[in-house]
């Protein structure tokens, strides 16, 4: 393929050919500084103790790995466990990474953090951590997302963060990242960009993965304690891919564990109708390797290399690129990726609400919908962990409309 780059083996920040650092020069030295500070923090007992303490006492870790008894009975197939990231403070896994990067901002002496947000969960997590650590916080959010996640906008403002609406492009996550990068390139000496997913230039994909990998470390211990064996399958939704890589990473060494990332299939297969970057096998069109917002990965784009519009009912999955490590896991067939429709996600959300008494975020509902679509392929002895990355409070407007129409 003409767009394939020649990448020397084992370059830091590369996952096979994917990843890298495609940013304006102004950001290079700040990225090196971030990488250096992060590398030091990784082996610094004081930092690790602070991080662990905030995860436990502020965020509420460890989260339960709950056996979903009624769901398992209903499926009549695999035993299903739910990793309950939705029970964390602020309502989603995003707080894990926000705590880690907030502590790094303090270490770097940067008094201000910038964040982008789609569903608003990362924005809320960033605003929360900023308030807790005494940092200023500005959050960029597409105006379309502000409308569909109004509750989270109010939460960020309550926490003292400045929420800036982004009117450009599709007015969603991608455009919020553009605007956050512009702020960062301007205020780089005083501000840390608290990127919320495994996207962007090195060291972000690696660093965010490391901060989120607590999900998989806990889940692995918990499933071994509960079932005395490893799971056969992991399911997680994939927007940028931070909750999924957070769950998958600890299991990469366990060859028998199948990993499935579920993308947003939106309302159709055509370019602009979905946000499925690694589901060409299901007929979703428009994804090719390319460079967007600092990283080389699969990107939904047109023939000319212009980034395509995307659609998903879920603001957190509505993004044209996927974290570079996922692109590499897909190429190597170490993880599998598939997409489910808006409608399937809504149905899964309703099912989980009524079967287990848990209203999931629309993003997490995609993961469950992916499992449901594949149920016929499972054996009763299979053991599945679904990452319930967030709770559904923020999506109540969407769910209410669904109920008004269909019930």
């Amino acid at each position: 393929m003409s767009t394939q780059l020649t990448i020397p083996a084992a370059v830091p920040g590369r996952f096979g050919p994917y990843g890298g650092r495609y940013v304006p020069e102004t950001l290079m030295v700040p990225l090196f500084e971030l990488e250096r500070v992060y590398e030091q923090a990784k082996s610094d007992a004081v930092f690790q103790a602070e991080f662990a303490s905030l995860l436990k006492n502020f965020a509420g870790r460890p989260t339960p790995l709950q056996f979903a008894a009624r769901l398992t009975a209903k499926f009549g197939g695999p035993r299903v466990y739910l990793k309950r990231e939705d029970l964390l403070h602020t309502g989603a896994h995003k707080i894990n990474n926000a705590i880690g990067q907030g502590l790094l901002a303090v270490r770097m002496g940067k008094p201000r953090v910038i964040a982008e947000t789609g569903a608003g969960q990362h924005g809320v997590a960033s605003a929360t951590v900023a308030a807790h650590l005494g940092l200023q916080c500005t959050v960029y959010m597409g105006t379309e997302d502000m409308a569909r996640q109004a509750l989270n906008v109010a939460r960020m403002r309550m926490l003292g963060a400045e929420v800036v609406g982004v009117e450009s492009g599709s007015k969603t996550l991608k455009d919020a990242i553009n605007e956050a990068m512009r702020d960062w390139v301007t205020n780089v000496r005083t501000s840390h960009y608290l990127l919320g997913s495994v996207l962007g230039a090195h060291p972000y994909p690696t660093m965010v993965r490391d901060f989120q990998s607590v999900i998989g470390r806990e889940a692995r211990q918990q499933i071994l304690a509960a079932e005395k064996r490893l799971p056969t399958h992991l399911y997680a939704c994939v927007g940028g891919g931070s909750n999924s890589i957070g769950l998958f990473h600890e299991f990469l060494k366990d060859d028998g564990v199948k990993m499935v990332g579920i993308e947003a299939g939106g309302r159709g297969n055509g370019l602009g109708e979905h946000a499925a970057r690694l589901a060409a096998h299901q007929g979703f069109t428009g994804a090719r390797p390319g460079v967007l917002q600092g990283t080389y990965t699969y990107v939904l784009q047109n023939e000319d290399g212009q980034i395509a519009a995307t659609h998903s009912i879920s603001a957190g999955l509505d993004y044209p690129a996927i974290g570079p490590e996922h692109a590499w896991l897909a190429d190597q067939h170490r993880a599998e990726y598939a997409a489910v429709s808006d409608l399937a996600a809504l149905e899964a959300a309703k099912l989980l609400s009524r079967t287990e008494g848990i209203i999931p975020a629309l993003e997490s509902a995609h993961a469950l919908a992916g499992l449901i679509e594949r149920l016929p392929q499972f054996k009763p002895s299979d053991l599945v962990i679904v990452n319930l990355s967030g709770r559904g409070d923020k999506d109540m407007d969407t769910y209410r409309r669904l109920l008004d129409e269909k019930v």
Binding site: L5, Y22, P24, G169, V185, R189, G305, Q306
Partner: protein, 279 residues
């Protein structure tokens, strides 16, 4: 690194140095509002004395650009502009003008065309150099070799945040000229140049023999005068693009672009008298 064949860019900068004159690099977004219009504008800019013209390739996600050039990119994309169209525009410009031309792009459109395909086509139509906003020397392994084979100057950005080690790297990877970003930030018109700019320029000079063009925030002839004796050229972008946006007609836009460049050029020549140290 100097390519075997000297490009129009290098020749123009030698002439400017010999004359002790500060050059004017004019940026406009190709296809804003149409490629035909850009064709007219480039000829008007060249006639008015622009020393190098940067043709911006519109991109859907221009993270290094402020609102003025973002809007220009949107207009250009709306008019159906793509990289092949911009290359074809260069061919048309070359039928009547030998003004040095730089293609100024984000990486993805070039990557999708294929580095080799793009470099070959750009050379064939008579482009002189390429600047990729989101490509640094570290990630330009393939790019560098391919572009020099096709006699295209590779222009890289240096920034106020670049440390000495990076300036060395950037200088080694660049040919034609080095583009120094005057301030941390995105493109756009500003009232004053940053106070630390002279110091930054002196630091850059320690690492390169290449001509240095200063850009980001330069919108007034006064800014250009200040650069005399310090830089080799001033890059004017958003100030020109906003004239295109405001003008009531294409003819009016071409006229005002030419006027603006003439006044910048004049300031560049006046800058000569302030020149204390020849580089």
């Amino acid at each position: 690194m100097i390519t075997d064949a000297t490009t129009r860019i290098t020749r123009r900068f030698s002439e400017l140095r010999a004359a002790g004159e500060l050059g004017i690099v004019a940026y406009i977004t190709a296809g804003d509002p149409s490629l035909d219009a850009t064709h007219k504008f480039v000829l008007a800019l060249a006639d008015a004395g622009a020393d190098v013209i940067e043709l911006g390739v519109p991109f859907s996600d221009p993270v290094a650009d402020g609102p003025t050039i973002q809007r220009a990119s949107e207009r250009a994309l709306k008019s159906g502009t793509n990289l092949r169209g911009v290359i074809e525009l260069v061919r048309r410009i070359r039928q009547t003008s030998q003004v040095p031309l730089v293609l100024f792009s984000y990486f993805n459109p070039i990557l999708q065309m294929g580095l080799e395909n793009f470099a070959k086509a750009a050379e064939q139509v008579g482009a002189d150099g390429v600047l990729v906003t989101d490509l640094t020397p570290e990630e330009s392994g393939d790019y560098h070799g391919i572009f020099h084979t096709h006699n295209l100057d590779t222009i890289f950005l240096a920034a106020p945040t670049s440390d000495d080690a990076r300036l060395q790297k950037i200088s080694a990877a660049s040919s034609g000229f080095l583009y120094l970003i005057s301030r941390t930030g995105v493109t756009g018109v500003k009232d004053a140049l940053p106070e630390d700019l002279p110091g930054l320029l002196r630091r850059v000079r320690n690492f390169t023999q290449l001509p240095v063009a200063v850009g980001f925030g330069i919108s007034l002839p006064g800014h250009v005068s200040v650069l005399g004796g310090l830089a080799d050229a001033a890059v004017v972008g958003s100030a020109l693009v906003s004239e295109i946006e405001k003008a009531p007609s294409l003819e009016a836009a071409a006229t005002v672009l030419a006027d603006r460049v003439r006044s910048f050029k004049q300031a560049g020549r006046r800058g000569l008298s302030r020149r204390e140290v020849a580089p």
